[in-house]
Amino acid sequence: MVDLTPPCASAVDTAAESPRPSREGIIGFCRRQPLGTVGLVLVLVMAVAGLSAEWIAPYNPTSNDFAAMTEPPSWAHLMGTDQFGRDLFSRIVFGARTALIVGFSCAIIGGGAGLVLGVASAYFGGRLDLVLQRVMDVVMAFPLIIMALAVIAIFGSGVYNVIVAITIPLIPRCARVVRSSALAIREVPYIDAARACGFGHTRIILRHMVPNVLAPFLIMLTAFVGQAILAEASLSYLGLGVQEPTAAWGLMLQGGAEEYASTAPWIAIFPGLAIALTVFGFSLFGDALRDALDPKLRDR
């Protein structure tokens, strides 16, 4: 058997390895990034709530109870009930699942597509770069929520359409940042060395470029989760996102929350708090992650 690997391959591959993030572990992260830790805790609480909603929620989140309409918070209903008598705590717990599904789906799909397009655009350059960037310019010209509204208007409402609607505007935002990092990496000597060694485009991109843009990519991913949750809540609030009786935080702020703002304010307060805390948590965690992954900031 003949080894066709160019002799310079291992040396180039080794040179291409990105500076790895600190291995200090969770305890070290917590000590160095207290605010980030708060964010992480908030994110984890939300994730646990969403993943184990069936076990945590005391009531069926979609079941009406006309004997308990607009009840204030009590031991029976920790966060009170809405106008249909549905337990708000149960709906918020299940709403975390909707937020998780939408948030992570949008961030991962949008971010993943942006990563591929950004790196490819930077690596190949030329006309491909020109065309892709102009397309990105067009898409980015619209604010996220406006773009999402347009997509919803075309495809209609519902969870899957909401994911599509929020994912599309996230793609160019990710692609633009990834491209700028990738452009710098494209010029470093080990990329030239890899080319000189005769490596294929796929290998160069996946092995040598992508790992080096992962740090800004991961930071963006956390920001995207927060943005997607906020966008989903906004769309649902406008009646264009997830629909009743599905438990979703933005949807809970619509209709009843407005109508009963003065007589049953808990209907608006708790879902509002859930949205605010989750987005706040992802922002703090994202900032901390950036600090932890950026070698310039890491040792400050």
Binding site: T62, S63, F84, P245
Partner: protein, 538 residues
Amino acid sequence: MIRTLLAAAGLGAALCIAPLTNAAAPAAADTPKRGGILTFMIPADAPPSFDGHRETTYATVHAVAPFYSVLIRINPDNPSSTTDFVCDLCTEMPTPTDGGKTYTFKIREGVTFHDGSPLTAADVAASWQEIIHPREGMSSARESYFIMVDKVEASDATTVVFRLKFATNAFLPSLADPFAWIYKKEILDKDPRWFEKNIMGSGPFKFAGYEIGQSIKGVRNPDYYHKGRPYLDGFIGIFAAKQAVRVDAIRADRAAVEFRGLPPSARDELVRELGDQITVQTSDWNCGNLVTPNHKRKPFDDVRVRRALALAIDSWHGAPALAKIATVHTVAGIVFPGSPLAATKEELQTLAGFWPDIGKSREEAKRLLKEAGAEGLKFELMNRNVDQPYKYVATWLIDEWSKVGLQVTQRVLPTGPFFDALRHGTFDVTVDFNCQSVVNPLMDIGKFLPHSVYAENYGNYDDEKEIALYQALLHETDTVKQRSMIREFEKYVLDTQVHMLMTPWWNRIIPARSYVKGWKISPSHYLNQDLANVWLDK
């Protein structure tokens, strides 16, 4: 004399429903004051067009009715009556001749359009011709209400004659339709679509301006033929789709009233905060949400499945609870509750969806679903993006259906796409509606007829037996027999075939600033909106 005659003739369905309204009407001693501008809220983004012959929405009638005249109308001083019709452009309510098949109206002389040109019988006949038999390429939303009319003609400058194919009690109430505006024949002849984008009538107010999506303005017509009216100098209708905006506007006195209807929570909020500065009028509403399964989609082509959908719903317990949070109130069948033609509670309880024992009803629903192979059926309920009461009703229905194992999701569409989906049949089951103006059960139940007979039925079914039952009913003029026949029709539609499902009828709640006088609530949000009698006690 006329009222006695009409009552004796049965007058449709329309017998007295007197105590249905609870109006805090102005005291008789109140003397109207002249002047002032009435500002009111219109719960919509904009009217789809200004053409009343074509449109069916309050967004059009609330904004545009003050500019137009009609031939006859419900008495604006007694709008909750279903028999008290009075002339607007005619001089006297006619006595039918030719065995009830000919109605001759004398038209007021000296009436002018807002451009100063005289209004004659030719204008009246031409307008009704467009409503009853629209020319090719034009649509009339009320064409099906006048299947009994053979022709309408102006025999001279002041006489309009309606000739019917058969005598029916349903004709006169249909004629009092509040959308049946009188247009200028000369304009209709030149461009029948002109009235979609322009306004030129002979009503109490002259058009003064329209800003798309914002407001419409009218100023007093000094040449109005009802002398001394209107009392107002003008009006401003502000478009606002969001309920919170409309309630805030009334609370802050930026607007005096909204004429469609607000939910109980908004009423309570305004009354609590404004006390005697708010007057509330309520009425049963000739309007209700229906549930329409698409008979062309499986498994809804199976009557067992449709019947199971009905049997799962507990209206008797749902209605009182929903009435606290939504603009719905009364459990009834296909006829406006309180009408002498409406089913009694005992009669209703024999129909699917109204059984007194909900446990037994749901067991039967489960059995039927199992028998039809539709256990745990998943489907999508299409709905219109309107909170009150569409979304509230849907949320309730979905929970009711879950109790027999059905898994239902909701697809909410804005009004335009919603109607598009209805017309193209791209839905499994939809929240539908039947909102009528004058209470006229024989015509109002047309909604339940197949699409081939009633254009706004979206169930995608044909049913010759149902049509035959209806035709017999329409030709019957004896009210006792009518009542019996309508029960048979109702049982066939709601129980035997379950073409559609009923939900509680709506409840109209109108909180208005107490200084708004002269406006009285009616069972329809389309009626009594020309504002000629409204005055401000300021």
